[in-house]
Symmetry: C2
Subunit: 95 residues, 2 copies
């Protein structure tokens, strides 16, 4: 179980991909084949990395699509876990 808030994948894209290459949001969006708005939303944490976007990132930046999507999964899961106590679920097979 992770203790701290995992960073949104958008931050990682910005700091590890765009900034080192000196890319603007407009340039990167064009390269990825999505609108500037779509990329902007991801970079600012207002949208998630979809499976298709993960593949796009892997093509553009040469990393694995799995790693991109896993980052999003961890981020989503961390927020879902915060509401674990609010879920009314019966234990069927106690550990």
């Amino acid at each position: 179980m992770r203790m701290h808030n995992p960073p949104h994948p958008g931050e990682i894209i910005k700091t590890l991909c765009l900034e080192p290459l000196g890319l603007t949001v407009t340039q990167a969006a064009a390269a990825l084949g999505v609108s500037r708005k779509t990329l902007s939303a991801i970079l600012n944490g207002r949208a998630g990395v979809s499976p298709e976007m993960a593949v796009r990132l892997s093509i553009a930046f040469g990393t694995s699509s799995e790693s991109w999507l896993n980052q999003q999964t961890q981020y989503d899961l961390w927020h879902a876990e915060r509401r674990r106590k609010q879920l009314r679920v019966a234990k069927l097979a106690p550990a």
Copy 2:
């Protein structure tokens, strides 16, 4: 890169959780706190495992929510990768 079609998480829930415990879909849905329709859709591959559902499964069956959601991620990614060739994306940082 996975070669073969990964199984949908619904199949795993059915064969590894419901059947060993002799649970009906109706019983399991009630325990999970979702409608019978919702669980049925997941079991038959017509819906995915959401982050919240992954937490529900982890409570009911004592496994980690991460493992449930990762299975869904791998499934989604496999299908997204099949369309990799159709995406028009420029390579920005060739490996």
